[in-house]
């Protein structure tokens, strides 16, 4: 893959310059590179590469989509532009630094989109002779899986190379900024940047052993998602290892990795996690000095306005209250969203199955549709709050009655109207659900 190496070497070259220029220039350059990968006219030998990278990673119902792994088929150009974007979008540790990078980041983000818009326009103008317009949207997932495996090893090497280049510069730079500003606003990892690279390429991590119950759901198929998702249990194991090795300052990533003995965990993950951990420990100790200032400012607040002065504790309590409410609403909203989508999916599935049955037709549509319609949405999530169990039962009843008309009819008209009836049922169902504080009447009024 000549062009990928081209990207690699130019990436490296750019890298040896200062960080801020790196962020802007290499990002842009990398995007150009990946753009050139896509455009057949510019990259001679990249027919398949260019097109396969366009294949989206849509998981259809036909795939055994267990959680994440299948989903994020990272495409080659996506890797390049992705990682550069991530490198560029790293949160700054210093106020002044943040000023410059904030604007950079923003332009970077917009550049993404405008770049893509440009590319799209080029697409639309291109004549039909673009090479091998193979499966783009439909069914490309199977192809993609195999292709991805081949590419993975290449990217591993690329990533390793990059890390060796990246490591010394970044850690030096970041150590400096770290010293200047120990009080980190939002604790972010300092040495994490270089480790970002391999995390894209590592296999999906599934910490086995006693952590698997809470760890990221494991899949039987070979994982493609490289990111490591930490859990409290994993962190506990990490802490244990660190303590055994004499504390966060003395423990080395290698030692920790060995002690933890978790399958799939790499030294990069441990390294970055250790960095974060050190930062987090360092922060409260320094905050002991600075928090005095904060407390005095709150004291000032009190003295300034005696009539409506509030104690710190009370102010905090108010804050917690508002936060709690937001949390609660978010939970409710999320559950609702999940359920709505679930119902939509179920409906769609049923609709498709019915269509299939009628297409294949001739014989026994009624019994077949009975089979299809019989399994209720058992896949519905059990409701979070107990208060919702009533509405759930209600929902089930509605579904049953909704399915009723579908069962009765056997010819096309009735079943299609059955589907639309079900749709209406769903609408009213979601209205009925909203017992946890939603205004049912409002919704009913606006119903079409």
């Amino acid at each position: 893959m000549p062009s990928s190496f081209l990207a690699l070497t130019s990436f490296k070259d750019k890298y040896s310059t200062s960080p801020s220029s790196f962020q802007v220039s290499s990002g842009r350059e990398v995007m150009e590179n990946s753009a050139s990968l896509q455009e057949s006219s510019l990259a001679p030998s990249n027919g398949t590469l260019g097109n396969s990278s366009l294949s989206p990673s849509i998981v259809t119902d036909h795939m055994c989509a267990s959680a994440l792994p299948h989903v994020q088929h990272s495409h080659n150009p996506a890797f390049i532009s992705q990682s550069s974007r991530d490198l560029a979008s790293l949160p700054p540790l210093d106020a002044s630094f943040s000023q410059s990078t904030a604007s950079l980041i923003h332009t970077q983000g917009n550049k993404d989109v405008s770049w893509s818009l440009d590319r799209l326009q080029m697409f639309l103008d291109l004549p039909e002779n673009t090479p091998a317009p193979n499966q783009l949207v439909e069914s490309s997932t199977g192809v993609l899986a195999s292709e991805d495996h081949n590419k993975k090893t290449n990217w591993q090497e690329w990533a390793d190379d990059l890390i060796n280049v990246v490591d010394p510069d970044w850690s030096k730079i970041l150590d400096n900024t770290n010293v200047l500003n120990p009080r980190v606003e939002v604790p972010k990892p300092s040495g994490d940047i270089s480790k970002q690279q391999p995390q894209f390429h590592q296999n999906q991590l599934v910490p086995h052993g006693e952590f698997s119950s809470h760890a990221y759901p494991s899949s039987t198929a070979p994982p493609t998602k490289p990111r490591m998702r930490w859990t409290p249990e994993l962190h506990e194991a990490f802490l244990e290892a660190v303590n055994q090795l004499g504390g966060s300052e003395r423990a080395t990533p290698k030692g920790i990795l060995k002690l933890m003995n978790v399958e799939g965990l790499t030294i990069y993950h441990v390294k970055s996690h250790l960095q974060k951990y050190r930062t987090a420990r360092y922060m409260p100790e320094t905050s002991e000095g600075t928090s005095e200032k904060r407390i005095t400012s709150i004291e000032e607040m009190k003295s300034i306005d005696l009539k409506t002065s509030i104690g710190i504790t009370e102010a905090l309590r108010l804050q917690v209250e508002v936060q709690k409410q937001l949390h609660e609403q978010l939970e409710i909203q999320r559950n609702l969203q999940l359920r709505i989508e679930e119902q939509g999916r179920y409906l769609q599935m049923m609709f498709e199955k019915q269509k299939k049955v009628e297409d294949e037709k001739g014989g026994v549509p009624s019994s077949a549709s009975d089979d299809l319609l019989a399994p209720l949405p058992g896949s519905k999530h059990p409701p979070c709050n107990n208060g919702k169990s009533d509405s759930e039962a209600l929902e089930q009843d509605h579904s049953r009655t909704g399915i009723g008309p579908g069962n009765a009819g056997t010819n096309e008209d009735k079943s299609s109207s059955g589907v639309s009836t079900k749709l209406k049922m769903l609408e009213t169902e979601s209205t009925v659900h909203d017992e946890s504080g939603f205004s049912v009447s409002k919704r009913a009024r606006t119903e079409k």
Binding site: P56, A65, R229, P232, L326, Q337
Partner: protein
Amino acid sequence: MKFGKRLKQQIEETFPTWRDQFLCYKELKKLIKLISSALPIAAEPTKYGKAEAEFVYMLNNKIDKFNTFYMEQEEDFIIRHKELQQRIKRVMDKWSSNGSRTEYNDEMAKIRKDVVDFHGEMVLLENYSNINFTGLAKILKKYDKRTGGLLRLPFIQKVLKQPFFTTDLVSNLVKECENTIDEVLFPIEEDKEETKEQKGAIMVAREPVKGIFRNTVAALLTMEEIRRVSSTKDHFSLPPLNLSHSHLIHSFQLNSPIPIL
């Protein structure tokens, strides 16, 4: 455009370091417009297929970004949570038995503030997750509507499983935090509505750098706005939000630079 405006407001209100991490809704809308105007689906299926692939590609990139950011934050939260627990334990062990009531109180005050802020940040991350999801859902709906495609359903199923939307871990941490707060850190007391308003005003006015409280208020109000009755309601839309103490929360905007109307 209403969601777009709300999203923009939310982004403006949020932490500076988070600003770039949200969905670029407007840009995606432009993309849709471009696609829909240039390519009626019937006309040239291959080109349309490419355009859709392009769109999907962009969305996937966004999702990757969300995931990365979210998991970074999540990791941080796990670490901080543990640290806070240990801190509390340390302080309690150290000072609850000895005399020195004032030092104990001071330390507890610091911890209290930190825990509350920590709680706030986690909730705001949940909000981040949700608002991006909502944005994605809306964009997909627009796409299907404008281009006549069938992208929405399968795609959203995929999104539902993404790390950035599977917020259970953070949710658990939040609950644990709330338990800690309720049991350990705060005595229980009821406040009257009027004093709450005043407190809120002061908090917003003089809040130290992070602005978590202001952010939270903004998030709640944005949510309320987004879920107001919309013209494009279908069976995938969320019902309106019924916020308790809505009036109170609205009053907290008193000194906010960007009023959310």
